[in-house]
């Protein structure tokens, strides 16, 4: 019996009787982070990190049992622990160990410290299950400081023209990363309801974020020129934008590295900012895990598997329901979470 096996419900540990980020309802679910393709409704028991739990409770309206990063939980002899994945606040890799055999499931992750989320820590293992959303050598992120330099310059130029700068960023994760990374001295920062609802949950758990003003109906449009507005990607180009007056729009995503994808989004600017590993980080992470066997999940799996094989790994593809950084999945989830937040479905 393998320590972890891949079933139609998700990644299963038969010895402990638990699942990692399952996509169909199960009895016991260990959750890496709160994005909707990893934390799904309908499980009987949830376990996540202290830092990830509030958002999961808020989004799914469920009870979540928590652990600290690094804390060990033993279930039927199998030892589980959560380690920082650097993807969003509270996101974790899950380490599974039984009788000396160690597996690590990365969930979604990135290695570059962003000053907001807990910095990724490599975890040694025999078998690694890794995402490879951007597992192609054309994806090489610039340092975050350069990207924020571009975002600040864009904001300043718009402010000089009397326009609002509207940036489409996923409400959980990317929105806070943008917020924490921009130069607050340029102007006021406003948020869409979906972003503000998540901000509120994170502030409540003690995360320091710059001041933001929630855009409520009836707000005067005279206050927007010169400001930065953070909204879900789905709000860009929607009727909601009309209340902002003249504006320039931007999308922040790893996909913006590809000119073709950038042009498909009808935004004025595309900033290359991802919460996933790029090619170099992915290769470093695999190497530093010390794993001999690697399962690759969502992303450019067949190419990355072949590349790993040429590097001497026993590499295999696993088909999962995880979606990685999918521009359009983001848009879909935003609608869900906005309905939830306007429906008064708070924790």
């Amino acid at each position: 019996m393998a320590l972890l096996e891949f079933t139609d419900k998700g990644i299963h540990c038969p010895q402990a009787g638990v699942y990692l980020d399952p996509w169909k309802p199960v009895d016991r679910a260990l959750i890496t982070h709160g994005h909707s393709d990893h934390a799904r409704p309908g499980h009987a028991h949830y376990l996540a990190t202290n830092a990830a739990a509030p958002v999961i409770r808020h989004r799914l309206d469920v009870d979540v049992e928590t652990v600290e990063f690094g804390e060990k939980r033993t279930i039927n002899g199998v030892e589980f622990s959560f380690h920082p994945a650097g993807h969003i606040i509270g996101s974790a890799q899950i380490r599974v160990s039984y009788r000396g055999e160690v597996w690590v499931f990365t969930g979604d992750y990135k290695c570059e410290p962003d000053g907001l989320t807990e910095t990724f820590e490599p975890v040694r293992c025999h078998t690694l299950i890794t995402e490879c959303t951007f597992g192609l050598p054309v994806f090489n992120w610039q340092p975050q400081s350069e990207v924020f330099g571009e975002i600040n310059a864009w904001w300043r130029a718009n402010a000089a023209e009397g326009k609002a700068s509207v940036i489409g960023a996923y409400s959980l994760g990317k929105a806070q990363r943008v917020l924490a990374g921009v130069d607050e001295s340029i102007g006021p920062i406003f948020t869409h309801g979906a972003v503000e609802a998540t901000n509120a949950v994170l502030r409540e758990q003690g995360i320091g974020l710059p001041n933001t003003t929630h855009i409520v109906p009836g707000i005067s449009r005279e206050i927007f020129p010169g400001s930065l507005v953070i909204a879900p990607p789905s709000a860009l180009g929607s009727a909601w934008m009309r209340r902002l007056g003249p504006s320039s729009t931007a999308v922040a995503s790893g996909w913006m590295a590809l000119r073709g994808v950038r042009r498909r989004r009808a935004a004025d600017r595309g900033f290359v900012l991802s919460d996933h590993v790029d090619w170099q980080q992915l290769n470093d992470a695999v190497r530093e895990s010390g794993a001999e066997r690697v399962f690759v999940t969502h992303g450019y799996t067949s190419v990355f598997r072949r590349w790993l094989e040429t590097q001497g790994y026993d590499a295999r593809i696993v088909q999962t329901d995880f979606e990685g950084e999918n521009l359009d999945a983001d848009a879909r989830e935003e609608l869900v979470s906005e309905t939830a937040s306007t429906g008064g479905n708070s924790p």
Binding site: V138, L258, G260, V261, R263, R264, R269, R306, N326
Partner: protein, 533 residues
């Protein structure tokens, strides 16, 4: 290169036409003459002669990035552009440079005839000197295909703003087979009499699809109609005892159509005809597929000449006796054209595109229904009073195509798109029934909304049966209505047929797979008596 890269970034960062024109006009005011000239050339799809093969560029880029060739080749179709793939894959530059666009172009040109090792040294040095955007542009200069969301029309408008020269006049000056090596900026753009360039074509006048009901065009009396032929739009120029054949893509294609050589002895000097290059036999057009076998051949064999013979269907006269008559009304140009062709025995290779006689709009409605029978795509409507304008202009010329043919087919393979669709499965292969077997017969890439492609992409991920490299076979579960303009027999296709302009018309969620059409249904749509190509 920094100034050109800034222009590129400005153009690339906006989707607004006015902002693009403003950025270009500003560039045309600031850049030096040789950079301006090269910019006009690149945006007119003229590039320096290729001095380095793309094979070598790929090899060197993969080596510099420390990855195997196969990995480069996997990444390339996902990015969708070779120049961009190389720019993204290379490690960051080590130093910077002040060289201008023209300086870099001279460097590229100087590689002609140099041995590969020396070429490699220069290219690697360039890559190490240029930042990511500059590198992309440098690669584009070598590989060609400069599509940066700026049409020739926009470029001409910006140049008109920067120079104060009338736009249609500029459009005409920029036509033809000039290169930055044969002309300077002043002579091309500013000179009143821009050289005696005998081969210079006129800008083509392009029609819009008819948007309203035919009756809304007003009095039938004010209009002429003719069939719309499915060939290559062409302009034939006879000046100085020479013949020049231009395609709409502004490509000089004289040598590819030796059938037309005789025109220069039969038509008077100073004649320019607008018309359609059409494959033709036994008094009807052969399908476009037939012409396709010739389009990219630089030399045309006897065999090809007899298998795919062409005629020129003339529909307009732009110059006669050396005079530009484009400002005259269509009706008068047409009469002059009829006289000219009527007077000359051209042996069947030069033909008039006949006008359709009609008194009422209803006559045209029924004539349009016959389009497929005569091998045309529909009708063209031209206002009798209309001058010959430059470019795509609304109001006087309309194309009125027949409704497409359709068939219900099953999706059986999916492949992710490239470029702007890199993360979606958009390249789909469709099949029809042949007995109990599904036979693939066409691919289609367009016609669904982004939302539908997203939904389909999620479905493909979960319903993949097998992977063949980038192609996935999927469960035969979804039926789509495929629309197309024409159908022909084809030996090159497994199904024995080839479609013209196939695209997805709609997703037939209401249809079970067993109700999709059959190969026999498709074959019934083949025109009668058409030879296999």
């Amino acid at each position: 290169m920094k100034r050109f890269a800034r222009l590129f970034a400005e153009l690339d960062q906006t989707t607004k036409t006015n902002a693009k024109v403003a950025a270009l006009a500003q560039y045309f005011r600031e850049a030096d003459d040789s950079d301006k000239l090269w910019t006009i050339a690149l945006l007119s799809h003229k590039r320096p002669r290729r001095t380095v093969t793309t094979t070598l560029l790929r090899e060197w880029a993969a080596e510099a990035a420390g990855i195997p060739d196969w990995l480069f080749e996997e990444a390339y179709p996902i990015v969708g552009d070779l120049a961009e793939t190389i720019a993204l894959i290379l490690p960051p530059a080590n130093w910077a440079s002040d060289k201008t666009l023209s300086d870099w172009i001279e460097i590229v040109k100087a590689l002609q005839g140099v041995d590969d090792q020396e070429k490699k040294r220069h290219i690697l040095a360039a890559w190490q000197t240029l930042d990511r955007t500059e590198r992309f542009l440098f690669n584009k200069i070598i590989t060609g295909g400069f599509r940066i969301g700026v049409s020739q029309k926009l470029m001409t408008r910006a140049l008109a703003q920067a120079t104060g020269i009338d736009e249609p006049l500029l459009a005409h000056r920029l036509m033809g087979d000039w290169t930055p090596d044969t002309i300077n900026f002043d002579d091309l753009v500013l000179a009143d009499n821009p050289g005696e360039n005998l081969s210079r074509p006129y800008p083509f006048y392009l029609a819009h699809p008819l948007e309203s009901e035919i009756e809304d065009l007003g009095q039938p009396d004010d209009w002429s109609a003719e069939h719309k032929w499915d060939g290559i739009r062409g302009q034939i120029i006879i000046r100085g005892g020479e013949l020049y054949v231009w395609s709409r893509g502004e490509e000089l294609v004289t040598d590819r159509f030796p059938e037309f050589t005789a025109f220069k002895d039969l038509l008077p000097d100073g004649t320019v005809l607008d018309g359609e290059i059409l494959p033709w036999r036994d008094d009807r057009p052969l399908g476009f597929q037939t012409l396709q076998t010739r389009i990219n051949r630089k030399t045309v064999s006897k065999k090809l000449l007899s298998e795919a013979p062409v005629v020129f269907k003339a529909y307009d006269l732009l110059e006669t006796g050396g005079d530009d008559i484009r400002a005259k009304p269509f009706a008068s140009r047409r009469r002059a054209l009829e006289t000219l062709i009527g007077e000359n025995d051209i042996g069947g290779t030069l033909r008039l595109s006949p006008l359709v006689e009609f008194d009422a709009w209803d006559d045209l409605i029924s004539e349009r229904e016959k389009s497929r029978d005569v091998g045309s795509e529909g009708l063209m409507l031209k206002r009798k009073e209309s001058p010959y304008l430059a470019g795509r202009k609304k109001g006087d010329w309309w194309k009125w195509k027949v409704n497409p043919l359709t068939v219900d087919a099953v999706m059986i393979y999916a492949q992710s798109g490239h470029g702007r669709r890199a993360n979606l499965f958009t390249d789909l292969t469709f099949a029809v029934w042949n007995g109990n077997e599904l036979v693939p017969f066409t691919k289609a890439y367009s016609g669904l909304t982004d939302t539908e492609f997203n939904e389909l992409t999620r479905w493909v991920r979960k319903n993949t049966l097998e992977r063949f490299g980038p192609v996935r076979s999927v469960k035969a579960e979804h039926v789509f209505e495929i629309a197309f303009e024409g159908i022909q027999k084809s030996r090159r296709h497994k199904s024995g047929i080839a479609l013209r302009f196939p695209r997805i018309h709609r997703w037939r969620r209401d249809k079970p797979v067993n109700e999709a059409n059959s190969l026999a249904d498709l074959e019934a749509l083949l025109p009668e008596g058409e030879p296999t190509s």
